[in-house]
């Protein structure tokens, strides 16, 4: 599922330098409570297939392994002197507020940290020229926020000058930064981490990967993803209802997924109502005997209705020169695969004089702006808890994630190396092909 070759060294987690004062210890003594501490030596194998294990055994070297998350007996930061900043970047995603709440609750209650700042509007909030003020976060101020979608801190897209941001963090007295954001934002966090290292490395930079497309590597899944495709589920059911409600009805649904088709696949599998799923990872043709239009025509004329799901990033190669079809108003009409398909399908049926009742559904923001569902709430809670454990222990330049059901630490540099994709030869795509009845390769 992750096509990047990974070495043992790729998985090392940076630590801040040696503490100058003795460890103050955690606010809670988990061992005394009957629980247990974790050490950096607690690791799981990255690849749990026996084939990989046997290769390692044969060569008598450890297979690549990942550091497990959890509370460390020795912590780096003195809670009384710790100042945490939290920033949320990029598009909205269910669960951001849950992660914020968890970070605050864990830092406050488990470690006794009292200074927690919310940075407003993403990295903009770390650039004084934008004029956003940080806001103080307390258990009371974050208690109810998971009830609402979005981010109470606001977000923004785009980069800011790294040195400016680190200056700002230093002037605010921050020594631990949590970046809740996607691929681009974690690259930004990595740059901040590198700058802090250059300046002596007394600041911990940690990430909580956010991607509604579920396309960050080395993770079981990303937070908010389950909630998001459950919302997409309803859009597909609506498309099916509309398709059934008219003669030769076609429900065409565009879902998120710029580079990866996970939401489209999941929505198809969960509903069982899609007849074709189009994703960026699997090219397809429109024309010709094995193409989408032919497949669709057959389906419509034999069954009287059909449902198609397209990820927004599917079929980009099919759309001719984007500029050419931009209309006068500047709307990039045709870079939108949904509208492009709508037009092409309509033309095809018109040319053949077959009635078609096409209903186009683009749920867009309705999917990403909802509050996290219960399972995602727990997931966000745990990501936040373990991010704080890691930060207090002096980990930096890393993100928290879940891998094979365990919470782990991953280097930022690793997770931003590529994108997770649907494997066209794997079981997920096979299950989609089985569920839809579509050809595994549509005309390609």
């Amino acid at each position: 599922m992750n096509s990047v070759a990974v070495t043992v060294d790729d998985l090392n987690i940076p630590n801040l330098g040696p503490r100058e004062i003795p460890s103050p210890g955690c606010a809670r003594d988990f061992a005394a409570e009957g629980s247990s501490w974790h050490s950096d030596g607690d690791r799981i194998v990255l690849d749990d297939h026996m084939d990989s294990i046997r290769v390692a055994m044969k060569n008598d070297i450890d297979p690549p392994s990942i550091e497990l998350a959890g509370p460390r007996r020795e912590i780096f930061f003195n809670p009384a002197e710790t100042c945490i900043a939290i920033v949320t970047c990029g598009g909205l995603c269910p669960g951001i507020n849950d992660v914020i709440r968890s970070l605050v609750m864990q830092a406050y209650h488990t470690y006794g940290v009292r200074q927690i700042l919310g940075i407003q509007y993403g990295f903009e909030g770390l650039d004084p020229s934008c004029g956003h003020k940080p806001i103080e976060l307390t258990p009371d101020s974050v208690d109810n926020i998971p009830t609402f979608g979005g981010s109470i801190l606001g977000t923004s897209r785009g980069k800011r000058e790294v040195k400016v941001m680190v200056n700002r963090l230093e002037s605010l007295g921050v020594n631990m930064l949590f970046v809740i954001g996607g691929d681009g934002s974690q690259k930004g966090a990595q740059a901040i981490y590198e700058e802090t290292q250059r300046r002596g490395g007394r600041m911990a930079i940690l990430g909580v990967p956010k991607t509604i497309d579920n396309d960050i590597m080395f993770m079981d899944r990303s937070f908010g993803y389950q909630t998001a495709f459950a919302a997409a589920f309803h859009a597909v059911i609506s498309a099916h209802t509309e398709a059934r409600g008219a003669r030769n009805g076609l429900g065409l649904v565009k879902l998120m997924g710029r580079d990866s088709g996970f939401i489209a696949c999941s929505a198809a599998l969960a509903t069982g109502e899609a007849n074709a799923v189009l994703i960026p990872e699997v090219p397809f043709k429109l024309e010709g005997p094995g193409g989408l239009l032919h497949f669709l025509e057959q389906r419509i004329t034999s069954r009287g209705h059909a449902v198609i799901i397209t990820a927004e990033g599917a079929g980009q190669d099919l759309i001719p020169d984007a500029e050419a079809v931009t209309d006068k108003s500047g709307n990039r009409l045709h870079s939108d695969i949904g509208l492009f398909l709508k037009e092409k399908i309509t033309e095809h049926f018109k040319a053949r004089n077959i009635e078609l009742n096409l209903k186009y559904i683009d749920p867009s923001y309705l999917i990403r702006s909802i509050p996290a569902a219960p399972e995602d709430r727990i997931f966000c809670l745990n990501l936040g808890r373990h991010a704080v454990h890691a930060g207090m222990a002096g980990k930096t330049g890393m993100v928290v994630a879940r891998w094979h059901q365990s919470y782990v630490h991953l280097p930022m540099s690793l997770v931003t190396r590529g994108r997770r994709k649907v494997d066209p030869t794997g079981d997920l795509w096979r299950s989609v092909v089985e569920a839809t009845g579509q050809p595994a390769r549509m005309g390609v």
Copy 2:
């Protein structure tokens, strides 16, 4: 709320001619069960304001009144010889399947009717040239259908030749037709009624008015409307979340409502999150000191975010010559008020160099294709029950509706005389203005 002047005569309900055989009676004896029969003399006043009543009293004439629905002791049709047809026309709306189920259950269980046909794809299904076959409906086949949105019969738009349809009904042996459909479809039903009258009037034609826009006259509300705006509710909440999530965020939501802004108003009131509501009934200006753009700019610059709801039929006068802005692909880009506003607002803020993060949400079919919520289920049940009571009693050329909390009979010719609108001087619009803080008249 209904601007049409109504006379006493306008409210007369046609009855089929005298039965040739003695009334067979209802399958159930309600009176014996402790319940009661209704007679055609049971009526309520159309206008219950004391002012109207006093005018009538002064002139010593009855004020206009409406016939109450309910079982009649004498019925016109012999259940054993009754053949019912049900047809669903126009756009989908929550609750259509509930009405179908109720019609079938009531006819079957309460009256003992055994021949019930479902006409497929609207009036098309009554035109043999379209090739659709009627399907038999039974309590078993309709039992679970309210679980699903849409119409199990399928729908279509548009007219068919009246004589062809009546011929078809006669050849199928139908003597009672239920038309579930909107304004246009009830006009079609009226034409069928008139044709059956010309042919001797042995067939009962009854309507169950359907309009997701809640714009049919003389009704407390239309079925599915509550369910629909509850779905619109979530779209507005999403818009608000998106607006809050970005600096100078603007959530722009387009909701149904071609001629009437009820859904837009209801969604605004229920969420309490809209800052402006645009509806067809209340003209507004874009430019100028009292215009939308100015209002919006003030709101955004003072509060940092805003939410606008527009009904699809709002501001049509603002959109210049539709053809001129149709793009090469033939998309009528600008007749869409949502996209038009998106463009105009974006231009305005760009011209003033104010950052704007506009998120456009068009939930469209997601709102109308869902199953009916519990309250609408009961409403549909009752509409179906009373439609069957009316049909069995030999009523024709009429629709069932609820008026002032009572189920009533209304002449088809009356309800298709105009459209229900939001009164710009009434309490509904006043409450919207109060809730949003927008000017009552925006620049007009």
Copy 3:
């Protein structure tokens, strides 16, 4: 539906005495905004049946009529000197927070009132000996509260000394009190009103009737009721699923309704899955050929499963001497009709050696503690708006309600005169009997 005879005088709304200073006018000028004022002479008839109207016409006297709600041009209170208190009493109900929010928003924004107090824990909060402090309510503090169920003010049951409460109101400087509560609480409000009248009548006492059972008279429905039975809907669906899932499965659901069976009836109608509904208004027998047990046995042996809904107040006459069956722990086991039926039904089938898989469902608080659904949100918004209009106009000793789709003023003394009941001879009960197939009178 309301068995109480009502005279014209019963419907008079008390007004506070003449103002000593000139009317300050409303903060908004509705007329200037294109809207309109209402006067006390705007009224609708209480009974809109033509029969009643004709009687009045014959006798040449006005039929009983109700004052319409809405803003008055002349207001009694000077907003700058107005201090409002809001108190919530009795059991929770969806929408309480919506009413609170609406009262605050309307008073603050439409009239400019700046002193608004929330009284904590019901009438307890007006008794200084209980030690609860009032809290200040502002638009900001109430903005999000409809997101949550319950009451942000807390509630309590039971009476407090009237003079103590009025003393407390006076010492707080309150001149307008809104009581959100049920039958008992409105009686309490009436007592407070009478005491304030004795003291010179400078304080307005207004009620917003609250009853999850929908059993307050002279109202289309009570707020929260639709939300509540939509939750009950799901309990009945669960009961049906459980009943279908086992051989001779019986789903037995107990729903709210101490004196009135509205929720039980609505849940049965909306689901279409109940085979018997038991309500306080319709007595039934357990034993004998027409009794519940016999009916149930027939249904189970012929169909293999059944669902029964009982209102909590149904069949109280069947439960023998409550004390006798109280267990040692003091649990009044058998005053609970649900557990009583569970026991009796189990015994019956055991005695006949027929397998029975009974699943008992008591959703209780799950129904009443949820947030209001969108339609109820608008309803609560309007109740709050009109309560403030009435209070500012100097109305007192009254409640706001909706009657025949219009918002109206009703004297407190009227609505507390009895309880609204399901009419065993009316259409609601008839529809239940039709939907369930149960006998209209079960063995009685």
Copy 4:
């Protein structure tokens, strides 16, 4: 998490003997479609901790590993001669219908099997003396069933004579049986498997483990579990609302979990609103300074409200001799920890003269009878798909499950060896203790 020591041999999956005829091959050629086959040698390690791997490496033996699920190139059964039976046993759980649908769809469409029988009411349906007839299952008959909770086949509890059941399967011509059921049912399936082996082993017996308590070993989670605790989530929110709504309010929620407290823990973590969670795995005391009552008293008197979640199997040691507190009616009042706690807590506060408003919520069947949520739908789909792959390949005496995000084959004998429990020293319990603020060990 699983306290059972497992050897390599424990993980062997039985295969039916050598086929007598050449393999007919799968109906689809996955390889030709660009996908891939799986072989029995594709395995993952059971324990992916580096510590375990290193022990294996040191001893130069393979660590225990699990066979991966997936389609095999060579299949055992000729689809044209395959007759499948599906049986559902034990309590309802969200997703049963999804698994049935997936089994049918996969067998029918991917392999071309045409004989698929649904056995009614669990193992009863395999005992001819019970009189239940199998029903034919087809893609059409199962297409919509995930819309409904429960099991379309019905279930029952308890054992039936193994030889009788195998006789019945043989007489029906069944050569592949899928048992959807919990721990007890999988033991039953194991007995059936052993009997079929004794008779020559031509029948494949496969299990799909079902447990709403998530307490079957060696699985990431059980199907329906996420859906179930999402429903429990709402019960806890209601309890919190009720607790906040009254002075010294206490919401006490009893959730499923006879032997394992997973649902209780998950509901607490997802809501963030519980102040104490009681589970079977962690004993607690009522009395004494560290006991529940003391903790609760402190919480109530300091904060004014509290929420407690108890798993139904918690604190069973505290309930004195069950018989002694059984009331006259034979209700085993006190074996119910919820009612027991309700009584004890009420007594405690009464004795101390502290007001307490306790609201007891037992959502019971409301949680288990709902349809599966989207994520569970996909999970069920995959369990069904892989169960059919395994059965067609001639696997037997095994169940399908997910382990560390991979679908795997596990011997029935292994998963029924014990129960999965919440580890009182692990991270799940630690997170609950952190989230609630309760002592890790309550007085014990």
